[in-house]
């Protein structure tokens, strides 16, 4: 007895040893604070004016150092000290004379310019960067105002590498990290930050939690033979025909699994997301770049949301093409289509919460479309936007809809939809007297299949999340400047494409609503499959509905592809 326990404990320790370290590694290195002293990487041997040696491969700040030497150093100094007397004196006499005699003045030869009256500020040292809070602000200042004589001439890559070099001069450089419009807002200019090195430990933890729990569920059944809580969510046994993958495609189950992932990852994101127009995009960049496992959490949330739309569409097509919505499942079909509409709205509100240049014009266009609704348009616009133009009140409304209003509706519909599936006798197959086979599977088998499918789905999700990051652009700084992407999110691309063809009210609002109504009312307006036809693909009874559903989906798909092609 005692030896057996020891054996089990050793087994657990070995298994735990494989996973646990990754959970705790690096907890102590959250933030390293740097003091605000000026430091220079002295690369000058013979002269302070010499070009710094090139480094291969160059870090972003190394590239910036070269640009700095070429464009900025003569005024801002070799240490970022600004145009001090000491710095002027380091030039050869004839050029020093130039500083003194004012050849950078309007009466000098061509290409000269007047030095600013206020003096040339230091870039490094205490207080030098006090007017900026994050690297994106510093980048914007450099990009728009520098070099002084030719403001705006820097490419955005040059401006980012200069930003990285200014951070290096202030001992704030983030090693092995590339500043960009998708990460700069998260990087403070006042404190040195250390981004997490890798998302892999997070992925291992996530897979580990699921696999251990999955093995546990199976062993538990083997050990007791009694159903546990999860078994009790299922009927004691169901006809084998109801659980065939080639009939159900597993789409409904996958949708439930994705919804659970969305709930958990969404909750985690709420701990760091700040729903104000000034902070929203910065907090998203912080989650993506600085929070441990934050990128993984956000990518999982993003990919689950995208796949949910796909999986629900497949589910809708499956139900239509197998005629499964025939009585008594007519009403549940309506619930399912309503749920799809809720999920699309959740996807759109979640997309807007990024509050970056990527969503800017989709929000403006989507909201303006509401104004085209006769009579109630203006009211509808104010209801959605929370004022006369997008701003803080818009963001907080979208936030409230996303995390609570729409979520609550979707959860109610989802529970109702699942309840009706069971109430209506499970997945549609012919009545017992009409069945060709009477094989049944127990809930133990059913749960085992579900757990296996969930684990597979989780691995696919994680692979997508590790390989393809969720989009993020630079924060919105003004609602009047047209920049960034003007494309709708992919699930609304078909509507965006339709908008090219006519009145926005008809194309953007009436037609989409009409499509949803048609899909939802298929069981009520067209002939249905007969009971004995159920359980098979393409029954004769609802052929017209099948054709209509496939046509609608095909047209939406084609319009989406057309809308996705860059102009």
């Amino acid at each position: 007895m005692r030896r057996a326990y020891i054996f089990v404990i050793i087994g657990i320790l070995v298994l735990g040893g494989a996973f646990l370290p990754s959970a705790f590694v690096g907890t102590s290195t959250a933030l390293q604070q740097a003091t605000a002293t000026v430091s220079i990487t002295p690369t000058f041997d013979s002269s302070r004016l010499a070009q710094p040696p090139t480094v291969y491969p160059p870090a972003q700040a190394d590239t910036g150092e070269q640009t700095y030497w070429g464009m900025c150093m003569s005024c801002h100094g070799d240490k970022g000290q600004g145009l001090t007397e000491d710095w002027k004196n380091s030039f050869p006499p004839e050029e020093k004379n130039c500083w003194d005699s004012g050849c950078h003045a309007s009466d000098a030869p061509a290409n000269s310019f007047e030095l600013p009256q206020t003096g040339i500020p230091a870039l490094a040292g205490a207080g030098a960067l006090a007017r900026f809070s994050n690297s994106f602000e510093l980048y914007r200042h450099i990009h728009e105002n520098m070099p002084f004589a030719r403001a705006g001439s820097l490419t955005s890559a040059e401006a980012w590498s200069l930003t990285a070099y200014v951070l290096r001069m202030n001992e704030r450089e983030v090693q092995g990290f590339t500043l960009s419009e998708s990460s700069g807002a998260a990087i403070s200019v006042h404190r040195k930050v250390t981004p997490p090195a890798s998302q892999i430990p997070g992925a291992l933890i996530f897979v580990g939690v699921l696999i251990l729990a999955a093995i546990g569920v199976n062993i538990q059944q083997a050990s007791t033979g009694k159903p546990n809580f999860f078994h009790h969510l299922h009927p004691p046994s169901i006809p084998a025909a109801q659980s065939r993958f080639r009939y159900t495609l597993g789409a409904g189950g996958a949708a439930v699994f994705l919804s659970l992932i969305l709930l958990v990852t969404g909750l985690l994101e709420m701990y760091y997301y700040v729903p104000t127009s000034a902070q929203a995009a910065i907090s998203v960049q912080t989650i993506t770049n600085l929070v441990p496992f934050g990128a993984l959490t956000r990518n999982l949330h993003f990919w689950s949301a995208q796949f949910l739309v796909v999986v629900m569409s497949i589910h809708l097509l499956r139900v239509t093409l197998t005629g499964a919505y025939a009585a008594p499942r007519k009403f549940n079909h309506v619930l399912g289509v309503a749920l799809l509409a809720f999920i699309l709205l959740l996807d759109f509100t979640g997309y807007v919460l990024r509050w970056d240049e990527g969503i800017h014009w989709a929000l403006v266009v989507g909201a303006n479309m509401l104004k085209t609704v006769p009579f109630i348009g203006e009211g509808l616009y104010r209801f959605v936007i929370g004022g006369s133009e997008p701003g803080d009140s818009t963001l907080i409304r979208f936030y409230a809809w996303h995390i609570f209003g729409l979520m609550l509706g979707a959860v109610i519909l989802m529970v109702w939809h699942t309840f009706r599936v069971r109430r209506d006798g499970g997945i549609a197959i012919p009545p017992p007297t009409e069945r060709k086979e009477n094989e049944r599977i127990t809930r133990f088998d059913l749960l085992r299949r579900e757990v296996l499918a969930m684990t597979l789905a989780a691995v696919i999700l994680i692979l997508f999340s590790l390989l393809i990051p969720a989009p993020i652009k630079q924060p919105i700084t003004s609602f009047n400047i047209m920049s960034g992407d003007s494309r709708a999110p992919w699930f609304f691309l078909w509507i965006q494409y339709l908008l090219k063809f006519g009145d926005p009210f008809v194309m953007g609002i009436l037609i989409p609503i009409f499509v949803v109504l048609v899909l939802g009312s298929l069981p009520y307006i067209l002939p249905n499959a007969k009971r004995e036809e159920l359980g098979n693909w393409f029954p004769r009874g609802n052929r017209i509905a099948q054709v209509i559903a496939v046509l609608i989906m095909a047209v939406i798909l084609v319009l989406t592809i057309l809308g996705a092609i860059p102009k």
């Binding site: 007895m1 030896r3 057996a4 326990y5 089990v8 087994g11 657990i12 298994l15 735990g16 996973f19 646990l20 959970a23 705790f24 690096g26 907890t27 959250a30 933030l31 604070q33 605000a36 809070s133 403070s188 006042h190 404190r191 930050v193 430990p201 997070g202 933890i205 996530f206 580990g208 939690v209 699921l210 251990l212 729990a213 093995i215 546990g216 062993i219 538990q220 083997a222 050990s223 007791t224 985690l268 701990y271 760091y272 912080t286 600085l290 929070v291 441990p292 496992f293 934050g294 959490t297």
Partner: protein, 138 residues
């Protein structure tokens, strides 16, 4: 092995696996929540050091701190009570805490409890141009 049935063994393994799964999840959560945004330094510009002559005591309620120049050396004490963090008020004997009655003398030493530790000393930096900078976070 003799007393452990197959069933008991499996039950034990199940619980162990669930426990391990939960522990792993908790570890992940612990890591996830372990990010804190960088804090900006809390500094106050005190102006010219000549504003604090020998023997002067100046209360800056925005810090809150009292800046004392006893004998040429300028020091600052935080006015946050070391008991539970209320802001202490000036009194005849020094500083009294309105919340729980702790009393400090003019140099921040405890006269009466419940506070145990003297008021925290803050660092005052003299800059090159002769002005003073107070670092409110130690």
């Amino acid at each position: 092995m003799k007393n452990l049935s197959r069933r008991d063994f499996l039950k034990l393994s199940t619980n162990a696996l669930f426990g391990l799964s939960g522990l792993l999840g908790l570890g992940g959560l612990f890591r996830y929540f372990n990010y804190y945004p960088p804090e900006a330094p809390v500094e106050f510009d005190l102006g010219d050091s000549a504003n604090f002559p020998v023997g002067s005591r100046t209360v800056r309620s925005d810090v809150p701190a009292v800046i004392v120049n006893r004998d040429g050396e300028i020091v600052a004490y935080s006015l946050v009570c070391t008991h539970l963090g209320c802001t202490v008020a000036e009194s005849a004997s020094g500083f009294d805490c309105p919340c729980h009655g702790s009393r400090y003398d003019q140099n921040g030493n405890v006269l009466a409890g419940p506070a145990q530790k003297p008021l925290k000393k803050l660092s005052v930096e003299i800059l090159e141009d002769g002005t003073l900078k107070l670092h409110a976070k130690g």
